[in-house]
């Protein structure tokens, strides 16, 4: 099965040179994890390091390969979809078993879904199973999901994820699952490794799960050492003390450069599934309420230079909200505003702003603005003055805010960077009481942007959602609903049918500057050159050996020296 998986990866990759190294068993994989876990309960974990630990221990139903395609893991092939696109049938591999020798069956899948869908589940991570009407066991190895309506993201969002053993978690009250003893001491595993020992604050010790259904992992043992400082972990990698540093990018441009210079380290740099943007409050009466104002902003910012200066190369300039790593990315579907200060000034005039003697733009607000600070009475004057909220401790975002604040002065915008702690940063945004904020968004394998762009997800107007901008566009809403409801018989057909709709969506989002996109994160990981079986994606660019998605990849790594 491992051979089959690697074959798929190589086929998808196309241009990767076949490895001359033959996988061999043995050795210990020592790797750096950037923080200790607070829990090892798959329903409770919420941080990236915790998910990284979990990727050694539990199988996925489906996972994302290095090119972000959905591939079966515990499932036997991609799901079959009924002709009305509401019934998804998933078959499981018949040979799959837990580390205690019992088979992994439909009951485990159903129990996992039930716990995730339970509204009382005490977890920091959010699961959304609201589109699912029923989950049934067709036979021991077949699960049938019946949805209330056709829902395209179901495959990449709901079916990609862990399956937990029903006999361990099925009888725990989801409301009390966080503090159940099993959260600290998991006993049954279905992934490539078993957990032998967890020494809090120090390390996690794993040993090979020889009955892993995709084939025994090559390493006999693995040890995750807690090294909280990314620079220290980079030194450990260079000195051969650890063989994998998944958060090498955190050690900055200097750390990456040093690792690349080292002959015994292999570094892969890849565009991640997350982006950073400049999100404006576009509600009526706020400074960025007019399209022309946002076009003016876009016209005076030299995005490529700003991203380079702010991230030192750890960011790829972005115009739409689909990142280049996604299958739906289309650079030709995006509206880009060229750098043109005069055009920016014209846009400001069109939006009703005139630059005052102090260099700050001013306009008369016929209706006033009650939600603004300070409150503007009807017919009152409004100055283009605002704050750019940034989370403290994020130097790249703060640098971007500083450059932007400096550049937009040319068109009369007076914006001040305002770094605050996350606890202070977030509440005003949820209430819609802000001018601009710079934030990061993590994406999943589906490019659907319903939660950040649909007017059904406006915050605080609705109780949920992440469309904090106040942006509302019926044409965009309709396109988003359409792409979500487009489900064909196969994943490839579904993608082909959704892609032109995403092109239209991106045109609107980038043209209307629904949010001023800054960059897609570029992450780096480092491996010791002794680790074999590490495969990069398209053009050595797309690689997603992260979070919960690469259980199979962990099993494929091997020690070239056998140590």
């Amino acid at each position: 099965m491992v051979a089959a998986t690697i074959a798929i990866l190589v086929a998808a990759c196309g241009n990767a040179a076949p490895s001359s190294e033959t996988p061999r068993n043995g050795g210990t994989l020592i790797w750096a994890i950037d923080s200790d876990a607070t829990s090892l309960n798959p329903f409770v974990i919420s941080t990236l390091p915790e998910f990284r630990i979990m990727s050694f221990l539990l199988p996925n139903l489906y996972s994302l390969d290095k090119n972000l395609n959905v591939v079966p893991d515990l499932a036997d092939g991609l799901p079959s979809v009924s002709s009305d696109a509401t019934v998804w049938t998933v078959k499981l591999k018949k040979n799959a078993q837990w580390s205690d020798g019992t088979p992994i069956t439909a009951d485990d899948v159903i129990a996992t879904e039930k716990i995730q869908a339970d509204p009382t589940l005490d977890t920091d991570y959010s699961y959304d199973w609201s589109k699912v009407k029923t989950v049934e066991k067709a036979d021991a190895n077949t699960v049938k999901f019946t949805l209330s309506e056709p829902f395209a993201p179901f495959l990449a969002v709901n079916l990609v994820g862990y399956i937990a053993p029903a006999k361990v978690y099925g009888n725990i009250d989801p409301a009390k699952i966080r503090n159940d003893p099993v959260s600290k001491n998991p006993t049954v595993f279905g992934g490539p490794y078993k957990l032998d020992k967890w020494i809090p604050g120090q390390e996690f010790d794993f040993s090979a799960n020889t009955t892993y259904f995709n084939g025994r992992p090559h390493y006999d043992k693995a040890i995750a050492k807690v090294i909280t400082n990314a620079t220290a972990a980079a030194s450990a990698l260079i000195n051969n003390d650890v063989a994998w540093h998944p958060s090498l990018g955190e050690s900055g441009a200097g750390g990456i450069r040093k690792a690349k210079q080292s002959s015994n380290v292999v570094v892969h740099t890849y565009q991640d599934l997350s982006y950073i943007d400049f999100r404006m409050n576009e509600r009526k009466g706020h400074i960025f309420d007019k399209l022309e104002t946002r076009q003016a902003l876009s016209s005076v910012l030299d995005k490529a230079s700003i991203v380079q200066a702010a991230t030192q190369g750890a960011g790829a300039p972005l115009w739409g909200d689909i990142v280049p790593a996604s299958w739906a990315y289309n650079p030709n579907a995006i509206v880009k505003y060229p750098l043109d200060v005069n055009k920016g000034k014209q846009y400001m005039q069109q939006a009703g702003w005139t630059i005052g003697s102090d260099g700050i733009a001013v306009r008369t607000l016929a209706d006033g603005c009650a939600a603004c600070t300070p409150v503007i009475k009807p017919g009152g004057q409004q100055k283009f003055v605002g704050k750019i909220r940034v989370r403290a401790g994020k130097p790249d975002r703060l640098s971007a805010a500083e450059i932007i604040a400096d550049q937009v002065k040319q068109i009369g915008m007076s914006l001040t960077p305002d770094p605050t702690d996350f606890k202070v940063f977030y509440p005003p945004i949820q209430k819609g009481e802000f001018d601009v904020f710079i934030a990061g968004f993590s994406l999943n394998g589906d490019p659907d942007d319903y939660s950040t762009a649909s007017s059904a997800q406006l915050q605080p107007e609705h109780k949920q959602g992440q469309n904090w901008t106040g942006y509302s566009n019926p044409a965009l809403d309709q396109l988003i609903d359409q792409e979500r409801a487009t489900v064909k018989a196969t994943d490839a057909e579904t993608k082909a049918a959704r892609k032109p709709i995403f092109d239209k969506i991106e045109k609107i989002i980038s043209g209307d500057v629904q949010t001023y996109m800054l960059w897609a994160d570029v992450s780096s990981m480092g491996w010791s050159s002794n680790v074999g079986g590490v495969v990069a994606g398209n053009g050595d660019n797309t690689i997603y050996y992260d979070s919960e998605y690469n259980v199979t990849a962990r099993a494929g790594w091997f020690s070239k020296s056998g140590k």
Binding site: G254, A309, P395, P419, T420, D421
Partner: protein, 332 residues
Amino acid sequence: MAQVPPIPIGPAGVPGAVPDQLSVETTVQQERDLAQPGGAKADEFGGAPELGFWRLAVIRFLHHRVATGALIILGIIVLSAIVVPIITGDLYRIQDYRHPFKPPFQSFQHLLGTDDLGRDELARLLRGARVSIMVGVLAVVGYLLIGGTLGALAGYYGGWLDNALMRFTDIIISAPFLLVVIAVTAATGGVRLSTVIIVIAATGWYEIGRLMRAQFLVLREQEFVQAARALGASNARIIVRHILPNALAPIIVSATLGVSGIILLEAALGFLGYSIPPPEPSWGNMLQQFEQYLLDDQAYLVVFPATALLITALCINLIGDGIRDALDPRQR
């Protein structure tokens, strides 16, 4: 500690030293002389030069070579922090973000190089010095006002007031400083320099408060205070005119050392993102922003503010030591 050469002084030059004879006819002038040892006249035993307590302290301080050197260096730093930004104006915020990281000591235009956004490092360093020193001085003034007042009241009146104020001090001591900063920032809707100063002053005065109380507890029992009381001086007059001047010496030392503590605290706050917001630089936020370059060719961006911080704090501590030695009556 530098050796302080012996200086001849009269008995009146010692703080708290009081002539043994007090007559009912003591005049207001005499009362003042009693209260302010520095203002005492030449003693009747003759011979010794006429040197007041404070003048003597200055002379002793100037003989303390290390402290004097520190004072000169600090003076240069403070002076350039005041003068240079006036001359260079907006230079500290002028960006050249397409050509960042000019290395230091390569050109006169950017003597200490430029930062990640191409801003002049020297201009930012001096501008940042303003923030650091201003926070240090203003917060210490806050310490003195709050701690001084409460300590004096507690020490002078004693009883339930002392008890209440000291329990209040205990509460302040146990207040988690960082949480208070976060809470106040949240409540006031963002980080401002005034907030930082107020929070530091409001949570850090207890040391000076306790010191002041201890001084007052001792001094209020002294004969010269009893004498003033017997002469019908009001409580306010006794506190301000009689006890306070005698209690000042240890307070000055503590306040001086407090300044360097606060400068470091401000840097720590800046490092956590809780100090003055950009583009205004402070040594703390400069350290925070460039920590990521520590292992890199751009390490100078960390080294300069860190060195400036170190030198300033060291100078202030040395000056504090010098003042302590100069004001200590036992060191002759």
